[in-house]
């Protein structure tokens, strides 16, 4: 296969069409869809609306909810640890505030519980991989906040709730948008390098489904800039954290309230018992469960562990029927299939094109609508481009950005994208990017209120693990905002709880035993175990020869 500047010859033919139509498309506007038209393309092509990818939950609080098969798989699964193997009488960590999951929401929660008066010795941050192995660092495009004079939190509210199909929890949306400017202010005080215009004002871009330009960004490393600064503060303030130590089960007391967790060191394979007055779950979403067989933009540990543990303890879930597929995942080259091509490419003017080089749809629809339009093109027309490994995709016309905004725009604003494609010989200032939707975000999750209280005492939740903020579909830039807003609120709520006199009772895993009983009653054909902790990517040849040795023999 002859490659010419990163693309095979046959794909080059279609790129010629893209180049030919570019000047004509410069001012061409494809109208966005009406609510009725949106519904039609969603019903027809979005995986959420395809019954074959889903089934009903068969036990627990949300019995009867129709959610992706992969979600049911982890909920209808036995505990990874046998509760009888855990000795709860020996407490390894005794703290006031335990935060499980050290991504954006978890680190915000840790910082704000400290700011709000919890001494650092009373905080513990535990995480599956390293501090910062999370989806936050991979968020590229931006964070929404309505701070410009011609914008307002009210307009932000409307954008967010319309994007979520009016199914969001209004109180949570209110909290999200009203805290937005506060969060940006906090970040500025910490010294985050948000992009600025020459007059000192903050750069603000549009996003899919937003009616104002309110996307604040730091090149296309926005999440990374936010996270590495929060991490820097965690270390400066000497807040204790444990890496490579995911939680595998919550601990409850005789009243049913959450009283801590069992952590498991994935390197030494020992467990630790943590007693905590408040447990904040910030373990993120389910990208690595590969819902509907899609590749994902998510980090290695995004396996929905927190939802599983909370469900066993009796937490109520919501909106898990809604999965976000990002419209533009990389479809070529094979090495990076499914990785994120940020929405910022479209914010800055990039258009979505078929094989013929003509626009397919308004480039800044809400994500579910945009993704469905692309799936439609690739599955019900022949206007798609096929790669040598039979992936189908459509073009994202990145060179158009520099036609509109001038030379150098891509290197200055999309340096991560430029670098990633350039590693495979593709120059996105010269050639378009082949894209196809990719699994991106867990829209639903654990139900909580505006102060992050869940339906169980002692348990708070914040971030992608939670449901209600985004309804059935999240808009670009509202997740980086969410993790900060609700991470902060969770931290402050934990500090409030810290000052109360109440204590937790006797530690138990009764809820796990109860879950096992409920699962036994289902007579499951396949015996599965969860939480998943890490996905399995070893080759079949290796897995066929795996064998378990007795630990003592080594």
């Amino acid at each position: 296969m002859a490659m010419i500047r990163g693309y095979p010859e046959n794909m080059r033919k279609s790129i010629e069409n893209v180049n030919k139509t570019r000047s004509k498309r410069l001012d061409q506007i494809i109208p966005d869809l009406t609510l009725a038209e949106r519904k039609e393309v969603l019903d027809g092509f979005h995986p959420d609306y395809n019954p074959k990818f889903k089934r009903n939950i068969t036990w627990g609080q949300n019995k009867g909810d129709n959610v992706p098969n992969e979600v049911v798989d982890v909920l209808e699964a036995y505990p990874m640890v046998n509760p009888d193997d855990i000795d709860l009488s020996q407490i390894d960590f005794d703290v006031n505030v335990l935060i499980v999951g050290a991504g954006g929401a978890g680190t915000s929660a840790a910082l704000w519980s400290k700011y709000a008066g919890v001494p650092k010795e009373e905080i513990l941050l535990a995480t599956k991989l390293r501090l910062g192995d999370c989806n936050t660092v991979m968020a590229q495009g931006g964070i929404q906040a309505a701070d410009r004079p011609d914008d307002s939190p009210i307009i932000h509210y409307l954008d967010a709730i319309g994007g979520g199909h009016f199914e969001n929890n209004p109180k949570l949306v209110n909290a999200l948008v009203a805290d937005g400017p506060k969060i940006i202010k906090w970040h500025k005080d910490l010294g985050m390098m948000y992009d600025c215009n020459e007059d000192g004002s903050l750069v603000q871009n549009p996003g899919g489904g937003t009616s104002r330009n309110r996307m604040h960004c730091a090149k296309d490393y926005t999440g990374m800039e936010i996270f590495r600064t929060l991490k820097d503060e965690i270390i400066n303030l000497e807040i204790p954290y444990l890496e490579f130590s995911p939680a595998v089960e919550l601990i409850t007391d005789e009243t049913g309230r959450v009283a801590g967790t069992v952590l498991y060191n994935i390197e030494t394979k020992q467990y630790f018992v943590v007693r905590a007055k408040t447990t904040i779950l910030t373990t993120g979403g389910f990208g690595r469960l590969h819902v509907a067989g899609f590749p994902t933009t998510n980090h290695y540990g995004a396996t929905m562990d927190g939802v599983v543990m909370a469900y066993r303890a009796g937490a109520k879930l919501r909106d898990l029927d809604a999965t976000q597929f990002h419209p533009t995942g990389a479809a070529f080259p094979e090495q990076i299939v499914g990785l994120l091509i940020t929405e910022k490419v479209r914010s800055l003017g990039g258009q979505v094109l078929g094989k013929d080089g003509e626009q397919l749809c308004y480039p800044l629809e809400p994500r579910d609508v945009e993704a469905s339009s692309i799936i439609k093109c690739c599955t019900s027309t022949d206007n798609y481009i096929e790669t040598p490994t039979q992936m189908r995709g459509v073009w994202l016309d990145s060179p158009l950005i520099e036609e509109i905004k001038g030379k150098g725009t891509i290197l200055n604003n999309l340096s991560a994208m430029y670098r990633m494609m350039n590693r495979f010989d593709i120059d996105i200032t010269e050639d378009p990017i082949l894209v196809y939707p990719t699994l991106h975000y867990q829209n639903g999750g654990i139900e909580h209120d505006e102060n992050c209280y869940t339906s169980i005492k002692g348990l708070l939740a914040a971030g992608e693990i939670s449901g209600g903020v985004h309804g059935k579909n999240r808009l670009m830039g509202n997740s980086l905002l969410e993790i900060n807003v609700f991470g902060r609120r969770a931290g402050m709520t934990a500090a409030k709880e810290f000052r109360k006199k109440s204590t937790v009772g006797k530690l138990s895993l009764t809820h796990v035993h109860k879950s096992i009983k409920a699962l036994d009653a289902l007579n499951l054909k396949d015996k599965r175990y969860s939480p998943t902790i890490l996905p399995e990517y070893r080759s079949d040849a290796v897995r066929a020869r795996l064998v378990q040795l007795y630990e003592e023999s080594l």
Binding site: R148, L158, K185, G191, R212, L339, S415
Partner: protein
């Protein structure tokens, strides 16, 4: 020693390459990234895999190629395997981060030297820049830090994913990626100040300017809310 190999479908249909993972030879499909090749070979990675997309710096990898004395560096998730690669991952770098309070500092060389006096030991050998998988001019930003040119240090180091390979290669034992972090925070805090409209909006919200409008919105029926949504104006974007 002859070793029988189980044949798999993949091996028959795709071209394979031979790579050496920590010295041991493995045949893997030529199209894989280093990370996927390590997994294909049978390793379940715990350290050395994070975001899998080039942003987290967990998968710093060094390798040599046959017949070439040079040490190459890459992010395992962003680099395709090559025949004859001899590789290992370096997912952790012992490099202590200074504790500081940015509120008490100024964006100048003294702040940099106070917390990272070792930057003065830089020999300008440029080994750090050569090893950087992000192709950052690491040595240049270390020099800018030493010179108190905080803006230049912050801008040059901005794309750093903190994998730490630079710190491992440095003969002057400088933790470059922490130095860049401090420079960026000083620049972001003191040179790029928060604009007035931001402070103004924060105050408006704290003063309850929007409280009433919010409670009205929340009282709307779904039909009325949909109407408000579809009728909202777009002022920044071209929209048909």
């Amino acid at each position: 020693m002859a070793k029988a190999k189980p044949k798999t479908k993949t091996e028959n249909s795709t071209p394979m390459v031979k790579i050496f993972i920590m010295g041991a030879a493995h045949e893997v499909p030529a199209s894989l990234t280093i990370m996927k090749a390590i997994e294909y070979a049978g390793f379940k990675i715990t350290r050395g895999s994070g975001c899998r997309a080039g942003f987290c710096g967990a998968c710093g990898t060094i390798y040599r190629k046959e017949g070439d004395y040079r040490i190459y560096a890459a992010l395992a998730c962003q680099t395709q395997v090559e025949d004859g690669m001899v590789l290992t991952q370096l997912p952790f770098v012992p490099a202590p981060k200074a504790r500081y309070n940015v509120d008490e500092l100024q964006p100048n060389a003294s702040a940099m030297l106070k917390y990272y006096p070792e930057v003065a030991r830089c020999l300008s050998c440029n080994a750090c820049s050569k090893v950087c998988p992000q192709e950052i001019k690491v040595m240049d930003y270390v020099q800018y830090s030493l010179q108190g040119q905080i803006k230049k240090a912050a801008d040059e180091s901005f794309d750093c994913v903190q994998c730490g390979l630079c710190a491992i290669r440095c003969p002057a034992e400088i933790p470059q990626y922490h130095v860049g972090m401090l420079a960026r925070r000083l620049h972001g805090k003191y040179n790029l100040k928060a604009p007035e409209n931001l402070e103004h909006r924060v105050k408006e919200i704290e003063d309850g300017v929007y409280t009433e409008a919010f409670s009205e919105l929340m009282k709307l029926s779904k039909a009325d809310l949909k109407k408000r949504y579809t009728e909202r104006d777009f002022i920044d974007q071209k929209k048909a």
